[in-house]
């Protein structure tokens, strides 16, 4: 009794605080989102995460809503800010599940927060479609939380992807054998380097320079001079956006003319091509797309129109695809039953902006790993189960 009064009190507080008291009359599909609106992760989230929420809700509601059984339900988004930290994220998930009682939850932004939120999301039985995170030990993770789905592939897929591309270039005789490696000293960089190093060695590459740097560092001149002094033929950095930009600029300033120049997160942003214009030509970056694909082209247009900002060439379409998968699974099941929807996701095939996709052991089998800037587009050059990959080319000197 006490519990019920208490809970209903909390609910009424929540309703009041959402200011949704009047609009509640019509039945909707409540979807909860918690990701970064403030703090250090905001920049990335504003680039690839939030615009897709806006676009998806716009797209779905314009068509009248999601078909759940007989009814057409409009999507009502409940948004919270996780302040770039797991503590707040956990609290938000808790609130979405127990106070707002949302029907579904969109997976949060970045690997770390997704991992932290996973136990809770699992406890409330929501499917978790992770479009902005990857790690190496996904099999164990999926076993523990069978409701989690990974759309960006394993960290090792990404790192072996770049090794594969460099190998192709080397076997064609376009680049030499000496690689300089740099990575950001943070979960992402470490996961990458951990699998990249052995892969480089097996492929017969010679790692002539290797270093890590703290997250947030933008004074990276020493790293570029180090790579230059080591006379590397290829430069590979598992970097984050600010350092991705700083490394590229430094490499131009110091004239680090390698035959392959690879950067990590941020290299797929449209802003990268805008900032470096012609200089970006031939730069390799994590991600990539098939620019000839109709679905992606349409998506790009709508993204620009609705959100006023361009999507990137990697995670943006994947985030949107994760929402499409959720939507199609709900329609397939025809109810808000989370367990059934989760099951439908793991077994079904879905038609999305990244093509027809399905999950194998909760991991997406179709992932772009490396792209190369070509006329202002990050053209995919390597990936798993993708079509439309171009052959990589030797990078021209900075001009």
């Amino acid at each position: 009794m006490l519990r019920r009064t208490f809970n209903s009190l909390m609910v009424s507080v929540a309703l009041f605080s959402l200011g949704a008291g009047a609009a509640i009359a019509e039945e909707t599909l409540k979807v909860g989102v918690s990701a970064s609106k403030t703090g250090p992760l905001t920049a990335g989230a504003t680039a690839v995460y939030w615009p897709n929420m806006q676009l998806w809700v716009h797209d779905v509601n314009q068509k009248g809503g999601i078909k759940v059984g007989e009814k057409l339900l409009k999507v009502e988004l409940v948004e919270y800010d996780d302040k770039s930290g797991p503590e707040e994220a956990v609290k938000n998930i808790q609130r979405l599940a127990t106070v707002d009682k949302v029907d579904f939850i969109v997976a949060p932004y970045t690997t770390g927060i997704n991992l932290a939120a996973a136990p809770l999301i699992a406890r409330y039985g929501y499917p978790q479609l992770i479009a902005t995170g990857n790690a190496n030990e996904l099999e164990t993770f999926v076993k523990r939380w069978p409701n989690s789905f990974w759309l960006l592939g394993k960290a090792s897929d990404m790192s072996t992807g770049v090794v594969g591309t460099l190998k192709t270039l080397r076997d064609k005789g376009q680049i030499g054998n000496k690689v300089a490696l740099a990575h950001v000293g943070e979960a992402f960089g470490l996961e990458m380097i951990q699998s990249a190093k052995p892969a480089f060695k097996t492929a017969g590459f010679d790692i002539v320079y290797e270093t890590s740097y703290p997250i947030g560092t933008q004074d990276l001149a020493p790293i570029i001079s180090g790579a230059k002094a080591a006379k590397a033929d290829a430069f590979v950095a598992f970097s984050y956006p600010p350092d991705t930009f700083a490394l590229t600029e430094q490499a131009q300033i110091q004239g680090l003319n390698v035959d392959a120049f690879y950067v990590g997160v941020g290299g797929a942003l449209s802003g990268y091509a805008k900032r470096f214009a012609k200089q970006a030509e031939g730069v390799l970056a994590m991600g990539g797309i098939n620019p000839a694909d109709r679905a992606y082209k349409d998506y790009r247009e709508r993204h620009k129109q609705v959100t006023g900002q361009e999507p990137d060439y990697w995670a943006s379409p994947v985030v949107y695809a994760s929402l499409q998968i959720l939507q199609q699974a709900i329609e397939k099941v025809g109810s808000k039953d989370r367990a059934a929807v989760t099951k439908a996701i793991s077994s079904g095939t879905f038609d999305t902006v990244i093509g027809k996709v399905s999950f194998n052991n909760n991991m997406l089998g179709r992932v772009w790993t490396v792209g190369q800037w070509n006329n202002g587009v990050l053209q995919g050059v390597n990936g798993l189960g993708v079509d439309g990959a171009n052959a990589p080319i030797k990078k021209p000197a900075w001009n």
Binding site: L2, V90, K91, N92, Q94, T98, E186
Partner: protein, 328 residues
């Protein structure tokens, strides 16, 4: 003497009753309210522990995130080899050791240095942890999988908060507390009467750090995945300071009355204004500074004085004190 004693008994009884009442929360609600309760208790423990040191010495410590992170990492690193209880002890000891080191380096000097250094401490340790993990462990995140539920964590934090209160009360009664009060009033005087000011401060800083370390250790299972950026989040330090100052640091229970309104206000802001939370928090802060100059304790004391004055017109507080002394 008798009067004082009875007073203390009343306070102790009230405290016990409050703890007993609060420990019932998990039985009433398991969802969001409990989650909020965990947050409340976490900050209640940390802010009170913070005020143990910063209250009497008036040195603003921004090192809470460092101790918190050390505690979290103690659990993350040792979970496979030691039971959770032992890890709490490890967390306390390592945080205390860290506090001792930092204190020895900076507490002999004037206050400003301490403030700045403590601010950087969390960043420094975070970088060293990140660096050594990338160098030696080759991975950043550590999983913390335990069977502890939110309910268990809540009870642990409640116990920790009570412990901090008991220790704080004991310190106040001890020679250490007496020495601290003199230092707080006038450090030169304290030195002249033969108090080892630096050592006193260092000991207190260690006690305070140890408690914050334990709070971090208890939070570890909640994170499930520990990485340096989350464990050493500088916002923790700032929030602890703000809450404690909001409550007022002159009384042991001061931070506690800061925690409740602060956490609830933040909660309201994040749920009501998810897109404008920074602006609203900023404005709320400025409002607090200008409208509540002495913290919530100051406000409560002023209210009490007013009520007392209205209740007993003609009896001023000084005469009441005199009466009290005569009775004693």
């Amino acid at each position: 003497m008798m009067g004082l004693h009875r007073n203390e008994m009343v306070v102790a009884a009230f405290g016990l009753a409050a703890v007993a009442l609060l420990s019932l929360l998990p039985l009433v609600s398991e969802g969001f309210a409990l989650s909020l309760g965990v947050n409340l208790m976490l900050y209640a423990a940390m802010c009170t522990a913070w005020a143990l040191f910063s209250g009497p010495t008036r040195l603003v410590s921004l090192a809470s995130a460092a101790f918190f992170g050390v505690g979290t990492y103690s659990v993350a690193l040792g979970l496979d080899s030691l039971p959770f209880g032992a890890l709490l002890l490890v967390a306390a000891l390592s945080s205390a050791a860290l506090a001792g080191l930092v204190g020895a380096a900076t507490l002999r000097l004037s206050g400003v240095y301490f403030v700045i250094f403590s601010l950087g401490l969390a960043e420094l340790i975070r970088q060293i942890v990140a660096w050594s993990q990338s160098r030696f462990a080759h991975k950043m995140g550590l999983y913390v999988f335990t069977d502890l539920t939110e309910r268990d964590l809540y009870w642990m934090l409640l116990a920790l908060t009570s412990l901090v209160f008991v220790v704080g009360w004991l310190i106040n009664r001890s020679r250490l507390g007496f020495a601290l009060r003199i230092i707080g009033d006038d450090e030169t005087v304290a030195r002249h009467v033969g108090i080892a000011t630096a050592r006193t401060k260092i000991i207190l800083f260690m006690i305070s750090g140890a408690f914050i370390g334990i709070a971090g250790a208890i939070s570890a299972p909640r994170y499930a995945y520990i990485e340096p950026q989350a464990a050493f989040n500088p916002m923790i330090s700032f929030q602890v300071v703000i809450i404690a100052l909001l409550g007022g640091t002159r009384r042991l229970w001061g931070p506690l009355v800061g925690v409740v309104p602060f956490i609830i206000l933040m909660e309201f802001i994040t749920s009501r204004f998810p897109n404008h939370s920074s602006v609203v928090v900023g404005v709320a802060f400025l409002a607090i500074v200008y409208l509540l100059p002495d913290g919530v304790t100051g406000l409560l004391e002023r209210l009490r004085d007013r009520i007392l004055r209205r209740a007993e017109p003609g009896v001023s507080s000084t005469t009441r004190n005199e009466i009290g002394e005569k009775a004693a």
